[in-house]
């Protein structure tokens, strides 16, 4: 009996050891090319895009492994395959010497990485590298021949600019890196690549200026990125919750998002860190301030007086888009006396002539508007116009004429809808808060509106991200920063001192 247990334990131990050896073997590249190729084939399960080209280099078995569609075939043929086949003809070299000779004297590509583990090899081949494997040598040479097709550089649709660059970020990480590097030709600009996502192993790139960024912020960012435990990162927005403070429950995000490389450059030149995610044409920016939602790159191309004017328009539009319908419902329902006589009579008749209470009426129109907006987003462009006509004429005018909704309410909702597009970054927050303001205004009147406003204010003011108060430089207040908040001062004033984000008042 004792022997049986002993044998069983030994057997179990040897199985575990075998497993552990296999695990190690999986990681290290063996010297046998057959084992390597078989492993690749089994791991990729003979996937369509795995391409293995076996070649003979002066009687040494070799193979080039690539992924279909990830490489530039012309570069691959001219810089890798042709030189190897036609120029490597010295029979006297051993495998290692051949490897070194090809690496140093034959190949005409600038990017070469030596790998000795499968993990590295998989990652590189799936990033567009060609892997050169030699029989009898336990290292693989990864050669940079990336050349996958990607969408061309176009103007970003959500951040259209009147003057200046028409370039927007694209899905390919390397192209985005180039777009940024072209604008900041400074060796202090650093791109640091990390890989996150258990399954997708998505490349993300941190961009920052080493002499401007706060080391604490950088360390904190890396610490937070390490905590990302998602299987797949298919868009930059997937990781935003991991970058925000713990327990940060709010409608407003403390992570900036932009599609413009010039905006990214502007932000990182103030000590911020941009995060580029492979496959996403947007950059995340940390730390981010609330007031930055109202700053667009266009402001800095316009004359200061006009930029100041548009900035104030944006502030007004924010309050209108968030609070105006709620305030209208509260005042018309609880404090109509504040309106001038002529206006109050119009509102009164409009409310009296419609079947629904004012709060319900406003909510209904908002729902209809949001449905039309959502439909307009998904529809092909030509049909979008039809939706606009249906929305404006059929639903809007007909509903008023039929007495279902009041004209003043429709006007309030229309003004709100237009205002909400003035600050597209805050659309999501304002759309939801608007509905809450309507409900609160309709049930608790002006008290409810002011209470909700106050609570939003405290929520915003209590937020910090990377130790920078989100509402800075308004609260905590910094007079000097007002040159780009309350007004947009001229470039001569703005360029006098570069403010680092980490130096914002705490």
């Amino acid at each position: 009996m004792f022997n049986f247990i002993k044998n069983y334990m030994n057997k179990k131990k040897s199985v575990n050891e075998q497993k552990s050896e296999d695990k190690d073997a999986n990681k290290k590249i063996p010297s046998s090319i057959d084992k390597v190729l078989n492993y690749f084939k089994s791991e990729f399960d003979n996937s369509l895009d795995l391409t293995i080209r076996e070649i003979d280099i002066t009687k040494t078995k070799a193979a080039v492994i690539t992924m279909e569609g990830m490489i530039n075939k012309q570069i691959f043929a001219n810089s890798v395959l042709n030189p190897i086949v036609s120029h490597c003809n010295d029979d006297n070299l051993n495998v290692k010497e051949k490897y070194e000779y090809i690496k140093n004297s034959i190949l005409a590509t600038s990017e070469q990485v030596e790998v000795d583990t499968y993990d590295q090899a998989f990652k590189l081949v799936m990033s567009g590298f060609a892997l050169l494997v030699f029989d009898g040598y336990n290292k693989i040479l990864a050669i940079g021949v990336q050349g996958f097709s990607f969408r061309g550089i176009t103007e970003p649709e959500t951040e259209i600019m009147q003057k200046g660059s028409r370039e927007g970020l694209v899905e390919a990480l390397r192209i985005n890196v180039t777009l940024i590097r072209r604008r900041i030709k400074n060796p202090k600009l650093k791109f640091e690549v990390l890989s996150i996502g258990k399954t997708s192993q998505t490349d993300i790139c941190l961009c920052y200026l080493t002499d401007m960024v706060s080391d604490d912020n950088l360390d904190e960012l890396k610490r937070r990125l390490k905590k990302v435990d998602l299987e797949n990162i298919l868009a930059a927005e997937f990781i935003t919750p991991y970058l925000e403070e713990n327990g940060d429950i709010s409608f407003f995000s403390t992570i900036g998002i932009t599609e413009r490389p010039d905006t990214v450059c502007g932000k990182i030149s103030e000590g911020r860190i941009a995060i580029l995610v492979d496959g996403t044409p947007t950059a995340l920016i940390v730390p981010y301030l609330f007031v930055e939602n109202f700053q667009t790159i266009d402001d800095y191309s316009s004359r200061p007086y006009f930029a100041t004017f548009t900035r104030w328009l944006k502030y007004a539009a924010f309050f209108i888009s968030m609070m105006f319908p709620g305030l209208y419902v509260a005042l018309a329902g609880f404090n109509p006396e504040i309106f001038p006589d002529q206006l109050i009579s119009k509102i009164y008749y409009s409310v009296a002539d419609t079947p629904f209470p004012l709060m319900l009426e406003t909510l209904l129109i908002h729902f209809v508007y949001e449905i039309m907006r959502e439909a307009g987003l998904r529809l092909p462009k030509p049909l979008g116009h039809a939706v606009s006509i249906v929305g404006a004429l059929v639903i809007g005018e007909t509903a008023v004429n039929s007495g279902l909704i009041g004209a003043p309410t429709l006007m309030v909702v229309a003004l709100t809808a237009i205002s909400s597009y003035v600050i597209p970054n805050l659309y999501e927050a304002t759309a939801i808060l608007r509905l809450i303001f309507i409900i609160v205004g309709g049930t608790l009147g002006v008290w409810g509106i002011t209470l909700l406003f106050s609570i939003i204010l405290v929520n915003l003011c209590a937020k910090n991200n990377f130790s920078v108060p989100f509402m800075s430089p308004i609260s905590p207040f910094n007079l000097y920063s007002m040159r780009d908040v309350l007004i947009r001062a001229g470039w001569k004033t703005l360029s006098k001192k570069t403010e680092k984000i980490q130096n914002m008042p705490h």
Partner: protein
């Protein structure tokens, strides 16, 4: 104990000013047993001087150890017997919240006569203020300074719109009848100096010159009260004698351009200030109770404070003889703002002489 600098002097000034202003907005002539607001201008001047005396012990305690709030001082100097003082302070902060909230209820229910349930409104105020209190002094202070700015603009707006309504004939010579109304006014104003016990708990958070802040605060609070009384007396005249909330009544007659009855602006000021004030008192209650019950019971303390404020503010008007009694409020305020800090100072000096404290 390490000092936590989280609030600037400007932010602290704004917070205490707001809490004082909210109490000022509920200024209630029947409670002061007087119907001549004009005589209260003299009262405010006297109260201003006395408020410097009242706040002195709190400030002295802060000077002795600027990392300790009044609750910490109680436990430091009296050990476990300090709990008695903590209970007094806890009750006071709850009472102050309930007093202001109940007046708000009376204002909504009786003066405005709107179709809003006072219960739901009180619940909304308590819930929102509780949320702010949970966010901590930093969040309240940063939000408070913006609210302070908005309120200042609103006050200036109301003053500008009321100035044309001022009739010089509405003014009568000061102390025309006798000193009684002025004295009642002094007691009433001092009884509403809720900001002094509040300062005792909030001072350790300040970064900057506290002495200067206290001086500016006292001058500003009473200065704005005097200005309000002066303009309201001139604008309303004898009509004032029948009004429970004179400042509200004044805003209801204000008009500018096509807009009439600016009481909606008053409501806005009142509610925003109320939100900040209640959140400060709830935070103060939390800090005191935390000292007594321990940090682990934080959530329980917040919930306890919310429930107490909600319930007491609703039932407080039923015991108006006691709780709306000026003498009771005055005694409670002076006890917490002056007498307890004085006792703490005396104790400190005794222990210092014995060499038991530094």
């Amino acid at each position: 104990m390490e000092k936590k600098y989280v609030v600037t002097t400007t932010q602290m000034f704004a917070l205490l000013f707001l809490s004082a202003i909210v109490v000022g907005l509920t200024y209630n002539l029947p409670m002061s047993k007087s119907n001549n607001l004009q005589d209260h201008i003299a009262s405010a001047f006297i109260a201003m001087g006395l408020s410097f005396v009242l706040i002195m012990p709190v400030y002295k305690l802060y000077q002795i150890n600027n990392a300790m709030n009044i609750a910490d001082s109680c436990m430091w100097l009296f050990k476990k017997f300090g709990i008695v003082f903590l209970i007094v302070y806890g009750l006071y902060y709850i009472f102050a919240s309930c007093y202001i909230l109940s007046l708000f209820n009376i204002f909504v229910g009786n003066i405005m006569s709107l179709n809003v349930s006072p219960f739901f409104l009180t619940l909304a105020v308590v819930v929102t203020a509780s949320y702010a209190a949970c966010k901590g002094i930093e969040g309240i202070a940063r939000g408070g300074i913006i609210i302070f700015f908005i309120i200042c603009i609103a006050i200036i707006f109301i003053v500008i719109t009321l100035i044309p309504q001022v009739d010089i004939m509405n003014y009568s010579p000061l102390l025309y009848k006798n000193m009684d109304e002025t004295l009642n006014g002094v007691f009433y104003i001092l009884s509403l100096a809720f900001y002094i016990p509040l300062a005792g708990i909030l001072f350790p958070f300040i970064k900057g010159n506290v002495k200067k802040t206290v001086c500016i605060l006292n001058f500003s609070v009473y200065g704005i009260l005097i200005l309000a009384m002066f303009i309201v007396s001139g604008a309303l005249g004898d009509y004032l004698k029948t009004q429970t909330f004179p400042i509200y009544s004044a805003t209801s007659v204000a008009e500018i351009g096509v807009f009439r009855r600016l009481d909606a602006v008053y409501l806005g000021i009142f509610t925003m200030g109320l939100f900040i004030t209640i959140s400060l008192f709830l935070l103060a209650f939390y800090l005191v109770m935390k000292k007594m019950l321990g940090e682990k019971r934080g959530k329980f303390i917040v919930a306890l404070g919310d429930i107490l404020v909600l319930l007491i503010s609703l039932v407080l008007p039923l015991f108006s003889n006691l709780f709306y009694n000026m003498k009771f409020i005055l005694l409670f305020t002076i006890l917490t703002s002056f007498f307890i800090p004085i006792i703490l100072l005396i104790r400190y000096n005794i222990l210092k002489k014995k060499g038991e404290v530094k």
